[in-house]
Amino acid sequence: MSTDVTTAAAEFARRQQSPVQRLQSQLHKRPWLSPLFLLFVAFLSFFIATPTFLTANSMGILLQQTAIIAALAVGQTLIILTAGIDLSVGAIMVLSMMVMASLAQDGGMPGILALLIGILLAVGAGFLNGILVTRINLPPFIVTLGTLSIFTAIALLYSGGASIQAPRLPRLLNFLGEGFGIGGFRLTWGVILVGVIYAVVAFVLSQTAWGRYVYAVGDDPESARLSGVPSKRILLGVYTVAGLIYGIAAWILIGRAGAATPNAIPDANLQSITAVVIGGTSLFGGRGRLVGTLIGALIVQTLQFGLSQMGVDQQWRVLATGILVIIAVAVDQWIRKVKA
């Protein structure tokens, strides 16, 4: 009887697959392939559509624009991996940015001190989210919806809604906007720092016990607890680390924008979530790769940047992003349904 089973199984393995089915099963094995393919398609289309797109200069700018969202999306990925969501990403970043800038403006405080206080504030904000999620057991959506408004309001009240321009800030705060050119391609320290963040967090997620616990807690919190994983501590840690990353993103943003502005990136929340989702991380937690998020962030920004190079209005770009999210998730669902 077992021979029958083996033969049937072998036959099944040898069965004729249509090219589409083969593609589907390949994508299933390598989930980051489909966002990578999407990125490739986007590049190709814009390359054909506008001559200025695929130039060294444009690519440098694209990377700088991607850096902020890509950084925020790292924190967002960690939180979504635990089956949470963070709607307060942008608010924490802006609050941290306004505080570091106002403390340091016109030489009020040494840049390094202001920077540290700003980043610590972001860490504290993430920690607060974590406490509300783990101790009061509120759903992350509700917690961060609340803190989104709270942090935004504090940032506005604190700054009086006014921006602080780069010349009034110490060099350290503007530093990440500086960089060097390789031909026409300009690489900023901010972009490099984001690369470092990705490398470190990807390492932690895939090579350390903490990384495993993040996946375990996101996939099945009760089983993780019964297996001895300190679920609450991991969750609290994830929100706190996310806060730290948002604080660093605030620093990068000052350098990139050449100013600290309360409404610098109004759609930071949605763009960071979009990057994570397009990157193939499941909103149900426990599944996803950081490299996918990086590709996702690049796709979102490529679309924005490419369309703006083509002279397409902001509204149309937002519309395109929306369509992209839905297509990406639909493709993702299709890949998951693979049979082999």
Binding site: Q207, R212, A216, S223, L226, V229, G286
Partner: protein, 325 residues
């Protein structure tokens, strides 16, 4: 402690002696020792539901203690209280005579208690090796491990493979396979292999063979005997009466959140055990009054039958339990 068993296999169950300190013949030496794990008067409530209503339990070194009882009798709740998954409202737990208070499963694990929970507690998205080593990962040697905290994935995968091999499960080959791709029985085998590999004093198994085939169940029973021979103590929760009567030294009967009695396979046969468990019989000795309450029958009628009762042959064992497929 005295042996107070009257060997009366053919008496009516209404006359059955139910004791809490029966000793299997020939194993007196084990029971002269101090229990490795001991619980007194455990109480836990879930809102208005009483999960455990003052339960005592003793587990001796090197013994296999089976826990049987109807669905909802509190078997899983009992072992969860013993292993830190639940914190009982009151009662004491001692290990080797010293009082312990497990606040979380990790505490019990560190004290040498490994558990296969009924819901298995494996993480579907992680691979088999990661599941076996979850929350006790090995790190790489040298600075890669000590400074960079890198996991020794290769080593853990190899040792996980050995643990599964030891259990004799051949259908699981690739330790890098995600648990979600395994069959229900294979998942259960992973959970059992994990407990067997890491248990140092006590191994608790909550229905470890529920999803297993005949051959695999036999392997788990062999594994239980091996662990016992190594001197470990085992708590086995099971609905499979032949299994229980095969491996258990003593049988703790859980009923309606309380302990209905502790018997041995020698003192009572399966049918009698089931009769006490279901409350179909009027109990002698330290019988629980609840067994006679009308509610008990309602519970019994409504509960899903256990396959082990097929072997039951006490005269008034209820018919509906006997002809389940």
């Amino acid at each position: 402690m005295t042996v107070n068993w009257i060997q009366t296999p053919h008496t009516r169950a209404s006359d059955l002696e139910v004791s809490h300190d029966g000793i299997p013949p020939g194993k007196e030496a084990i029971y002269a020792q101090e229990p490795v794990l001991s619980a007194r008067n455990l109480v836990i409530t879930f809102g208005r539901v009483v999960g455990l209503d003052g339960v005592d339990l003793d587990l001796y070194p090197g013994e296999v203690l089976a826990v049987i009882g109807d669905n909802g009798a509190g078997k899983s709740t009992l072992i969860k209280c013993l292993t830190g998954a639940y914190v009982p409202n009151s009662g004491t737990i001692t290990m080797n005579g010293r009082e312990v208070s497990f606040k979380k499963p990790q505490d019990a694990r560190e004290a040498g208690i490994e558990t296969v929970y009924q819901q298995l507690a494996v993480i579907p998205a992680l691979d088999i090796a990661s599941n076996l080593y979850l929350a006790r990962e090995d790190r790489r040697k040298g600075p890669l491990g000590s400074i960079f905290r890198m996991l020794d994935k290769k080593g853990m995968e190899r040792r996980a493979g050995e643990a599964v091999q030891n259990l004799g499960i051949q259908t699981i080959q690739n330790m890098g396979q995600a648990v979600e791709t395994l069959s229900g029985g294979q998942r259960q085998a992973v959970a059992v292999a994990r407990a067997a590999a890491f248990g140092s004093k006590v191994v608790v198994l909550d229905e470890p063979t529920a999803a297993l085939g005949v051959k695999e169940s036999g392997m788990v029973l062999d594994m239980i005997k091996q662990l016992r021979d190594k001197g470990l103590s085992i708590i086995l929760v099971s609905h499979n009466m032949p299994h229980v009567w095969e491996v258990a030294d003593r049988i703790h009967i859980q009923r309606l959140g309380g302990r209905a009695g502790v018997i041995t396979p020698e003192s009572h046969d399966m049918g009698e055990g089931v009769a006490i468990m279901t409350g179909a019989k009027k109990l002698g000795g330290t019988a629980t009054p609840a067994a006679e309450a009308p509610r008990a029958d309602a519970v019994h009628e409504g509960s899903r039958g256990s396959e082990g009762t097929r072997a039951g042959h006490v005269e008034d064992a209820p018919a509906d339990r006997g002809d389940r497929p």
